[in-house]
Symmetry: C2
Subunit: 224 residues, 2 copies
DNA sequence: CCTTAACCTACCGACGGTCAGTTAGTTGTC
DNA sequence: GACAACTAACTGACCGTCGGTAGGTTAAGG
């Protein structure tokens, strides 16, 4: 009767289920009991795979961050101008379908109250992980004279923080027109911080498209 | 033997002690038991004043935010140009000695891990409370042609978020030279976002002075 | 002006319930 | 038969509750 699975499969199952529950109920409202009930195993099994509940968050955030960093690295390596790279990197769209739902759930989780721990850790890890590949893009634009920044490291950090802040704030807004004006302001702000030409930064179209489709994805109740 | 105090005094005592403990150990590492031990009362007394541990955070954040909002309002009402107001408002210095330690402790608490809840609530409440008075300053500068922003509401929100983000990130940095370069970049970034003249925003001197003196204040172990 | 009874409210501390994490032991697989 | 996945009962820590106490204040009665 008892389902016996490979370590890798089971581990991933815990991660998927946990993310879903965190997105639905928030991190502190989700108990380890909830997770093991959903997976259908016992308490001990959970602790066989993870040292703590927080470690689950750590792994979720690590996974997503490394995936994002990889995408940004790929974008940075392309043979296009820095503004185009920037726009792609800021709004990463080429997410595999498989990762799309995870991203959507994480996005939803970010906004939900009771996910302060999750949100902060994701932001911290994103900053650590994505700073290096992102800096490559900023440096290129700076060298080519498209951007004008006094400090590439700081500019990268500031930019990433602004985007993460933006996304977090968006996930709490309901009104699409408020979302629009916020994103539009950030287009303006990012361009100015970088010293890029006005209107060169385009976040609105890709971000809004993403948000709408992810909202739908996120509300799907389809099981694995 | 039993100290009987007025409701107001006791309530404030709980708030002071709690903030100190949150700054020392973090929110989740601080138990209600710790708080009542430090105050020297029983469990019931704590719950006589607060519905929950979280309510303490809420009141701490509300108190500080309203105080900050008041200061910004005062600055906005002064008869000086918008850039000066901006610089004052962004780095609020005229804090009474009495509030200085609280601010320092809160600052320390922001950086300390395990205070995600505290940090996020403070940021949220600050945004709610300080947006209106701050917008007055931005609007004035915009009307006078010193600032150039497409959307005053969004500019205000963006600016506040940037400053709160900056302070949070600073409280985690140890190296003063890293702090310097970060603050300097934000001077540049804030000026550009607002379309203000280059070098018109001055954060470095007041912020660094504050941080150094607050570090000393924060490490004092003197009792009340 | 003193007494005393009714009342108020800060304060008490044992207890219930919840939940993260542990451990000793069992089952299935290679 | 050895090792890894898994189980289930257990522990300890903590939040929040609840019935009750104690010190003080008000006001009626003498």
């Amino acid at each position: 009767m008892k389902q016996r699975k490979s370590a890798e499969t089971r581990r991933q199952e815990f991660l998927d289920v946990s993310l879903r529950l965190f997105a639905e109920k928030g991190f502190d409202r989700t108990t380890v009991q909830d997770i093991i009930d959903a997976v259908g195993v016992s308490k001990g099994t959970f602790y066989h795979y993870f040292d703590s509940k927080r470690e689950v968050v750590e792994e979720l955030a690590q996974g997503l961050s490394q995936y994002a960093a990889q995408l940004i690295e790929d974008i940075a390596a392309q043979d296009i101008d820095a503004v185009k790279k920037l726009n792609s990197a800021l709004t990463i769209q080429e997410v595999k379908q498989e990762h799309l739902r995870k991203k959507a759930q994480m996005q939803g989780a970010l906004g939900r109250s009771g996910n302060f721990y999750l949100a902060q850790r994701l932001i911290d890890i994103m900053l650590e992980t994505c700073a290096a590949p992102f800096a490559v893009i900023v440096a290129q634009g700076s060298k080519q004279g498209i951007f004008d920044v006094p400090d590439i490291k700081e500019a990268t950090d500031c930019l990433l923080r602004m985007m993460l802040t933006l996304k977090q704030s968006l996930s709490r807004l309901e009104d699409p027109s408020l979302m629009r004006s916020r994103v539009q302001f950030y287009e303006h702000a990012v361009a100015r911080v970088l010293g890029a030409p006005p209107c060169s930064v385009n976040l609105l179209e890709p971000l809004m498209r993403r948000y709408l489709s992810e909202r739908e994805q996120g509300t799907q109740t389809k099981a694995n």
